[in-house]
């Protein structure tokens, strides 16, 4: 077991780690998926793998917005920047995500007016300041981020803006979890549930996983201690033969979520019949589209988009890594053609992507270990 004194609460970490070691049944394995990319990042950064028993396997889930965005949607978004007198705005995470014809950063260097914003409201400001230009916000993110986009669209409407649109790529985590549970090559014993998504959705949407699939879910915070506690709670449920939704992150996450944020979502968005996820394929009702009555703010209505599906580069195995079938280092391109300087797939772009986290934090020997 790794020395625990480098953690903020070395005693507590040591205690929980020991409890996990005592609790596990050596005769079985535990396959636990941490759904959220923030958890993936924390697990790698803090070397939590090293304090866990070998028979607990952590599978990295799809909770990284840029990682699950298919290349075709990146191309669609970037095509907007090629329209005359148009400013395309995106979050920093998007700037290095490769589309077929390059990343937003590269297109910007070639002259496209692409700007990084920290808030969708900053894009509204740009629309106010540039009345002669069309400003489009390239929206990505799970339920944590979507309510902010919703209020931004309502704000643009209240301001009477006619030069502001949103290219909506908001996805919802629950259908993706169902798709993973239904996937034939997926054998999971339980889930570390997403923390900040649950501040909006609450814990109730995960109850079907316990009820229908009989798998435990523990919504968890992001500190090493949170994640270890969540894993211990999962192990205890599994031993007791229980499957329920527990909330380890109670200090931040109310069980019922944030009603105002849920109302904002319902006011602005409708569920798409289906949406493509990188690696997971088309998933029913897994993404949000802007309501028809707000079509004036919908980039998919206001711009003609290519809408072409693009398959991942053949050698890249992002899909298998996203589903947890392969470990990052098992991909043929990992650390070679695909690295954080020059990512081929989005999992290598974001610090929440399993590949970038593995590349950055796994020791050299561990990175080569498959």
């Amino acid at each position: 077991m790794k020395y625990v004194d480098e953690y903020r609460d070395p005693v507590l970490i040591g205690n929980v780690a020991r409890e996990i070691h005592t609790a596990v049944d050596a005769a079985r394995t535990y396959r636990i998926m941490e759904v959220c990319g923030g958890h993936t990042h924390s697990i790698y950064r803090h070397g939590l793998r090293d304090v866990l028993p070998a028979n607990i396997e952590l599978v990295h889930g799809p909770g990284c917005p840029v990682c699950v965005l298919p290349t075709g949607r990146v191309d669609d978004g970037l095509s907007i920047a090629r329209h005359p007198a148009t400013i395309l705005c995106c979050f920093g995470d998007m700037m290095r995500v490769p589309g077929t014809k390059g990343t937003p950063l590269e297109l910007k260097a070639q002259g496209a007016d692409i700007r990084m914003v920290y808030s969708p409201l900053d894009a509204v400001r740009l629309a106010q300041e540039n009345p002669d230009k069309n400003v489009c916000f390239f929206a990505i993110g799970f339920e944590t981020t979507a309510p902010s986009t919703a209020l931004t669209i309502l704000r643009a409407r209240a301001l009477g803006l006619r030069n502001f649109t949103v290219f909506a790529n908001h996805v919802t985590i629950v259908p993706a979890m169902r798709a993973i549970l239904d996937s034939p090559d997926m054998r999971l014993d339980g889930f570390v549930g997403p923390g900040h998504v649950a501040t909006v959705t609450g814990c109730r949407p995960y109850e079907f996983i316990a009820a229908e699939y009989h798998k435990p879910v523990v919504v968890s915070g992001f500190e090493p201690l949170d994640i270890l506690e969540a894993i211990l709670m999962l192990v205890r449920q599994l031993h007791a033969g229980e499957a329920k939704v527990e909330n380890q992150y109670r200090r931040i996450v109310p069980y019922e979520g944030n009603p105002a944020a849920l109302r904002a979502l319902a006011q602005v968005f409708v569920l798409r019949p289906y949406f493509e996820w990188r690696g997971l394929g088309f998933i029913s009702q897994s993404a949000l589209a802007i309501r028809p009555e707000l079509a004036a703010f919908d980039a998919e209505v206001q711009f003609e988009l290519p809408g072409v599906r693009v398959t991942d580069p053949k050698a890249a195995q992002c899909g298998e890594v996203l589903k947890g079938v392969l470990k990052p280092a098992q991909c043929k391109l990992f650390g070679k053609e695909c690295n954080p300087e020059r990512p081929v797939g989005a999992l290598m772009v974001s610090s929440e992507g399993a590949c970038a986290a593995h590349y950055r934090y796994a020791s050299r020997t561990e990175a080569l270990e498959v």
Binding site: Y118, L121, V124, I140, G160, H196, V200, E223
Partner: protein, 95 residues
Amino acid sequence: MCLAIPGQIVELHADQPLLAKVDVGGVRRNVNVGLLEEALAPGDWILIHVGFALSKIGEKEAAEQLQMLKAMGEDELAMEEVRGYSFAEQYAAPP
């Protein structure tokens, strides 16, 4: 991506009820509080995500969250994000 930044409310604006001025590590910016139902007062702590308050939290939770950002090496990124918010002016003008 799901970075949530703790900030302390330093000022509420009677004429702009959707905005609150927050202090994040000495940087003061306005954030949108339209996603919160709770009554807010100066001194309250909130979690901020892409310019919006996502939830009201306790002082202890805020300190822990800040500690977590540091431990994740994301505190600089968080400060950069807060410094980057530049949308408050739009709320000053009547819609």
